[in-house]
């Protein structure tokens, strides 16, 4: 059946009163309304903002204690890890990701890389990692000015479930094996030569479901 994305008006209460003939369309409306919620409204998601130090652009030892403008440059030469948590649902299978990052080219060796790993809470890797690299999937600011964040996504092309956990795939939605669906998951992100600003994880909407 098709999965609606909108809250369709539902039939009047009188249509299910005693003495009224039960119409297939009425029951079908109820079914559609519930599938909209199970397979669309109540899919899993987690939206993270990442608070950064707030050093003044003018005075090196002054911190403004607010995100005054833009961001520090994304210049991390060493790997930096974020351990995001995602409340999956029993229907979770593929997680779409939209993220913002900053990357500044101040050296010819700068080469931003962002890697996503899906793990359980004990740290066990659940599926093959997904890697974004410069310049195939990531951008870099050239002029060294205050960075403006770029946006990148995994897209939503469906793949066959990846086999094994070693190695990396090019950007695709993150995969959750059946035995871990419904669990709180650890989505580890490793960034190099860039920095992460915010990230949205969400179960991919699938427009049709087989009863």
């Amino acid at each position: 059946m098709l999965v609606p994305t909108s809250f369709q008006p539902i039939t009047s209460e009188e249509s299910v009163y005693m003495g009224v003939t039960v119409m297939g369309g009425v029951v079908s409306q109820f079914a559609q309304a519930m599938v909209q919620m199970s397979h669309c409204k109540f899919l899993g998601f987690a939206n993270y903002t990442i608070s950064k130090p707030t050093q003044s652009p003018t005075f090196s030892n002054v911190y403004l204690l607010t995100n005054w403008s833009g961001l520090p440059k994304g210049l991390n030469k060493t790997s930096k890890y974020y351990s995001f948590l995602f409340g999956s649902t029993p229907l979770s299978e593929w997680i779409g990701v939209i993220f913002q990052y900053v990357a500044t080219k101040e050296s010819s060796t700068n080469s931003p890389v962002i890697t996503f790993r899906t793990k359980d809470l004990s740290g066990t890797l659940l599926s093959k990692s997904v890697r974004f690299t410069y310049s195939s999937h990531l951008n870099m600011t050239i002029d060294g000015d205050i960075d403006r964040p770029y946006t990148a996504t995994t897209g939503a092309n469906f793949y066959d479930p990846p086999s094994g956990t070693s190695g990396f795939d090019t950007p695709r939605p993150l995969y959750i094996p059946p035995s871990n669906r419904g669990d709180m998951l650890l989505l580890e992100v490793e960034v190099e030569d860039c920095d992460l600003v915010s990230v949205s994880f969400f179960d991919l909407y699938q427009p049709e479901v087989t009863p």
Binding site: F7, Y17, S56, S198
Partner: protein, 354 residues
């Protein structure tokens, strides 16, 4: 069979639910199953999700100080257990403690739970908290506080996440509620062969749908770091209030639905004087009082994000909008409200949708 459900839930075949066809028992049972699943799992994904760079959300205080606060919706009156997850460390050998204190929307204290942190490298820790009493409130306020055993090191928190635990199958017998709205679980046995498709079942489905459509999804739960302190110079300097730069950098995206009605926006205000304003998702709001302020507004559903086409569903940027007038609540380089600590500012923000 009781008020059971399966995971993943069964889906009725709407091809069987059209005029002129015999309504199959299987389809009706599946609808009961799906209704029960929705009550159990609906709204139980991540409700707090916030990250901090290392050395940003820190405390070196030996008594509890408030660090962050969030206002989050409670899925239903039956959902009274919430799991908190943190990724945290202490900077040298010692003990740090993170405490979550809950107060529901009826101003009833719902207890607190703590996590002890002893690892000197970032590691996950979890605590499960059950409300100390039943509630009919549709939201709960959560304050995260922290302390260390000695002032010579920091407790450093990098990730905070939480989710309400889904209800287990079978659901409790009898009608229940989401705030004051009714939900009635289905006894699947009564939807089986040789039972009438009663008017009761139809009214129950309709009521459950209306109730669960109004169950909130927390799209954004953001908090500044209220009282950071550190044993080290230059640490604990993260944002305490919402700033002008957040207009550009707070661009998380979420789906919104046609017919979904108004969004609910909460902002926590400190040091208000007179009437101040801020803008969110293109709407301007006025504030005159400290503490949590509630607003309701209809989003512009034509304003989909460019990334929507990559995912086959309409996504929207959930973000503050620029408001640069002299009565703004958005902190900036000239204003420095958080720096001086005596000007009106926003220190926490939550946005919910149906």
């Amino acid at each position: 069979m009781g008020n059971t459900y399966t995971t993943p839930p069964t889906v009725p075949d709407t091809g069987d639910l059209i005029a002129g066809k015999i309504i199959k028992t299987e389809s009706i049972e599946r609808m009961g199953n799906l209704s029960n699943y929705l009550h159990a799992y609906g709204g139980t994904s991540t409700c707090i999700s916030q990250a901090f760079d290392q050395n940003t959300c820190v405390t070196a205080s030996t008594s509890f100080v408030d660090l962050c606060r969030w206002r989050i919706p409670i899925p239903s009156n039956d959902h009274t257990t919430i799991d908190f997850h943190v990724n945290a460390q202490v900077t040298t050998t010692g003990t740090g403690t993170i405490k979550f204190t809950l107060t529901d929307g009826n101003s009833v204290a719902q207890g607190d739970s703590s996590i002890s942190i002893t690892s000197t490298s970032m590691g996950l820790a979890t605590v499960s908290h059950s409300f100390s009493s039943a509630t009919t409130s549709d939201y709960v306020d959560i304050v995260m506080s922290g302390k260390v055993a000695a002032i010579t090191y920091d407790l450093d928190i990098q990730i905070v996440a939480a989710r309400f635990l889904p209800l287990s199958s079978p659901l409790s017998a009898g009608a229940t509620a989401q705030g004051t709205n009714k939900i009635t679980p289905f006894g699947l046995g009564r939807l089986a062969n040789n039972y009438p498709l009663s008017s009761r079942a139809g009214v129950q489905w309709r009521t459950n749908i209306q109730t669960m459509r109004s169950r909130k999804r927390p799209l954004l739960s953001w908090s500044g770091v209220e009282n950071p302190s550190s044993a080290f110079t230059g640490r604990g300097k993260g944002p305490r209030s919402l700033g002008e730069g957040d207009v550009e950098t707070m661009q998380i995206q979420s789906s919104l639905f046609l017919g979904g009605g108004a969004l609910t926006l909460y902002v926590y205000i400190v040091d208000i004087s007179g009437t101040k304003k801020f803008a969110f998702m293109g709407r301007t709001f006025s504030v005159t009082s400290d503490g949590w302020n509630e607003f309701s507004f209809f989003p512009d559903l034509s304003n989909v994000s460019p990334q929507s086409s990559s995912f086959g569903i309409s996504l929207y940027k959930i973000q503050p909008s620029s408001y640069n007038q002299s009565d703004t609540l958005l902190d900036n380089l000239d204003r420095r409200a958080a720096f001086f600590g005596n000007l009106p500012r926003i220190t926490a923000l939550s946005l919910w949708s149906n």
